[in-house]
Symmetry: C2
Subunit: 424 residues, 2 copies
Amino acid sequence: MSLVVQKYGGSSLADAESIKRVAHRIVETKKAGSDVCVVVSAMGDTTDDLLDLAEQVSPVPPPREMDMLLTAGERMSMALVAMAIADLGHSVRSFTGSQAGVITDAAHGKAKIIDVTPGRITEALGKKHIVIVAGFQGVSQGTKEITTLGRGGSDTTAVALAAALEADVCEIYTDVDGIFTADPRIVSTAHKIDRISHDEMLEMAASGAKILHLRCVEYARRFNMPIHVRSSFSSKEGTWVLPPDPEGAEDMEEPIIAGVAHDNSEAKITVVGVPDQPGRAGQIFTTVAEAQVNIDMIVQNVSEADTGLTDISFTLPMTDGQTAVEALMRTKDEVGFESIQYDDQIGKLSLVGAGMRTNPGVSATFFRALAEAGVNIEMISTSEIRISVVTRADQLDDALRALHTAFGLDSADGEAIVYGGTGR
Amino acid sequence: MSLVVQKYGGSSLADAESIKRVAHRIVETKKAGSDVCVVVSAMGDTTDDLLDLAEQVSPVPPPREMDMLLTAGERMSMALVAMAIADLGHSVRSFTGSQAGVITDAAHGKAKIIDVTPGRITEALGKKHIVIVAGFQGVSQGTKEITTLGRGGSDTTAVALAAALEADVCEIYTDVDGIFTADPRIVSTAHKIDRISHDEMLEMAASGAKILHLRCVEYARRFNMPIHVRSSFSSKEGTWVLPPDPEGAEDMEEPIIAGVAHDNSEAKITVVGVPDQPGRAGQIFTTVAEAQVNIDMIVQNVSEADTGLTDISFTLPMTDGQTAVEALMRTKDEVGFESIQYDDQIGKLSLVGAGMRTNPGVSATFFRALAEAGVNIEMISTSEIRISVVTRADQLDDALRALHTAFGLDSADGEAIVYGGTGR
């Protein structure tokens, strides 16, 4: 008997009608012969409504109590989905994160899953019940406090449960048809990707592709769990996120490039006139890290020979901009830099594809395409299967379209350009 | 160190402002030097909203899932109350019914508390935290399913926790000033009762007084737990519901009569022409019991000598009327009765007072007052400390006022008529 884990997000559970539609789809999967374990998010705006209520009561609520409050959201949606399934004549049991054995650390609001002990789920599946589990939540090891997993938490719950239950696939239902070669709102020729590797998806998610959260992809990659990202509004196949071919075979038909991701939520900070002495960069990044700010790309200019000063630039989430600038300014005298420039008019774009490993021509095509589109590049970073650059924000859309075309992603039948190499 | 258990109902927790006001009152109790454990209901209309949602999804939702859904209500209110207390600078921990050790049987929707193991509460109180507990909910013994306690569940949770924690008092906060000698909406001269015994309160609650639920009073009586019923909108003393005086002393100042309760939610069924043979009444009441209908008063007429037939009347909750009539009609041939009369135009009123035990004049005054007010009596039942009668519904208010006056309850200073006996 195969086992399918499905996850439905808040937009698929907006109201009673949506819940009934989701129930029908779950029952169809069961009828097709699979055991089904379903992870649900809170309905539509529930989480925002609860956050509003909390804000009215206290400007800085204790994280423990915030988790108590927010976990009510998935509790409601899981019970309602279970009721809708029962109404279709199928036996069903819902479980909270704690009951499902989602064991986390004690970091309220951003807990990490450290173990999954799904004894009650296995037992319920064994009795042929359809199982519904509240996503986004768990219980802390030892202290048994209710925790929430933070952003991407429900997707991560689904993948973690799928791994623990040794499911055949983890289906993530969303309001789009799958992962696209680029954001279709910007690149009109973007098309759905049929298959993508965990590695590539990881780079896409890290580079701004919003459909799957980085954390969930990391988890799936670690456990070799196939993810099928698809629409809850149609029965079409979506995008399969798959482990590498077990035989290591390279498929000539696979495109070298999976897609182009972009991110316009970052800002750039440049620390100007830093004495070019060992340890100064360390001081700067320690200061930023202590302010709980994650940085992304870093560039250090060659220092000017006459002054012995250099500039250090890095990107960070725009929402952390003020925090980082204030933290740095407090260390100005100690570090000895001249000034700070803050710039939130930047965009980041990333080309992702496992074929880069074996195709030296990719970066040449990449930079030529941007140059021909008149796009100026401010920062560059690369991994084995990704090239990212920072541009002016108002050049980002043009840059995306130029790359999408240059790498043959415009053709919807997936016939992307294949370089001289072996494909991937 | 004294320990106070407080309970706040949904009307005291209607919105963020109400929650903040409740938080202030809790903190005041803590500042006055007591440890505080607070039981909360769901906010205002939350439970009704959740029931609406459930109805939209399924006409007959599984009770297990209904309990999952409804328990989200108290979860939200307890977290919000905790946040408001934290905002006032006091350390606080909230606990679900399950976390608080409220162990119940497995009857979803109407579970009974079978044990309270408040280890986490005791530990949190020991660390000087204010403790907030979700009322109305528990976890089933063995199967560890989430349950709700049904009507009166939050009051019962509060009393059960107070007993398990050996609290000094259980304060029940509500939107009125306490227990009144009669419903002030009907009897304008009704006044607040300062002290009432558990026994008397039990009879009042069983007779229709709505402020405290029967179940909660039964629990308090069993554990000799004092209850203080008071308003969450003022700091005035309310009504103390107290165990009997430990020394058995009788207090001359106590009124003989505690108050007059009424109930207009009952209907009367008369089974006409029942053969007056052993076992027929048993068949009738077994049928009604098997339909899960609780009956209240019963009257069997003397059988007519010429026909050998008798009539049996009983009262029951109006909401169960149709169920009971249908169940009885299915046994018509078997039992051999002639017909069924259903009457929902009745009212029940009850005079309650421990002084009745030693004051033989009470029933004479009772029936004289009703006769002088022109009230016709259809059924009578009595206990040691209560007289109840059924009247026409449209005579109920007049009857209430007549009794309230006849027993000297109109004077707000509590100088009730004292009969020849010793008081109580």
